[in-house]
Symmetry: C2
């Protein structure tokens, strides 16, 4: 019998760079996580590929999946749905593989209720000024949307108390190193491994 | 104001290789921990240096330090005292530096009472057979002492529930990697860093 995999949830405020950090982690050749691709009704940004970055769906398709209970979590965010297909997550965890979700803060809260043992990591900007810069630099949004996002981000930072770990995204490579270290550490947590080792004492 | 350092306690059963792992960690040029050298009344083994591996003391000297409350923890183990001088630990933590203790299981229990926030890591042999081999291979002990140690080791493994993490010492370099990852992760724990980040929201 193998152990179940870990559910790793990376979230954080809008604009902090969750997607960039996630891509960097999955570009490393020795990554041991399985990435759960999210679904969204927002339009693909330049370079984004359906089935790689997201599964892009219409509003009608998305709402049908909600009704069928096929989403582990979903959220409406700046007018678009984002969600995580549930079957893939459960099947992969049962195979003993760690699953990596990169999702919005609203969605992470729903996952916490269903998977209290998950590993919840909050990606944090080094400062609010830096966060605003990143939203502006993305260059795809109007000023109203930028201010709206910044206000949403502040509310999201107040949700930090629902998380197990906070990782500062000061440098992408450092943030990835910290996330990898957290997963290694979590696999060594006594509660997870104690039953295996205590069996050792029963065998003569 | 800086954060207080972490107290890292590496312990585990007799013969598991705590000393070897500790030496390997401190031979790495980028180690960020301060090593707290233990005191003992046992005789130096070949190559061990006073003030480097241990502070070697007589029974009389050791018992005087106990009376003066100068030891964070101490234990009598196979006829000898082992202990940790308390002043160095407190001063170094207050400077914001992480302190690394490598101590016996009896002593770790006392430290847990005084430093409940410490980071307690249990070093575990891959199997009991392997543990016996390591005790025998050390080659410095009689058969009676070996059997006595193995029984003590089994009792020590039952103390695992007092620890936060269990690290298997299957390979020294892997064990060191896991310990380093645990410390990185622990510095990202939300409880430790949340106050710092919530202050960010108060500043306009």
């Amino acid at each position: 019998m193998h152990e179940k995999g870990l559910l790793i949830v990376l979230s954080g405020p809008s604009g902090v760079g969750k997607g960039t950090v996630r891509k960097e982690i999955f570009s490393q050749p020795d990554t041991k996580f399985e990435y759960s691709i999210s679904m969204t009704t927002r339009s693909p940004r330049e370079g984004e590929v359906n089935g790689v970055d997201y599964f892009f769906k219409t509003r009608e398709e998305f709402e049908q999946l909600i009704e069928q209970g096929k989403l582990l979590e979903y959220a409406e965010f700046v007018g678009n749905y984002y969600g995580t297909p549930v079957d893939y997550v459960r099947e992969t965890l049962n195979k003993g593989r760690d699953v990596f979700l990169e999702i919005e803060v609203q969605g992470a809260r729903q996952v916490r209720e269903k998977f209290p043992d998950g590993l919840f990591i909050f990606l944090m900007p080094p400062s609010l000024t830096e966060l605003k810069n990143r939203i502006v630099t993305r260059g795809t949004e109007t000023e109203d949307i930028i201010n709206n996002r910044l206000n949403v981000a502040k509310e999201e930072i107040e949700m930090m108390h629902l998380y197990d770990y906070v990782v500062e995204n000061d440098q992408i490579d450092l943030a990835c190193e910290r996330i990898n270290a957290i997963v290694v550490a979590e696999h060594c947590r006594r509660e997870r491994v104690e039953p295996k080792y205590l069996k050792m004492l029963e065998v003569k």
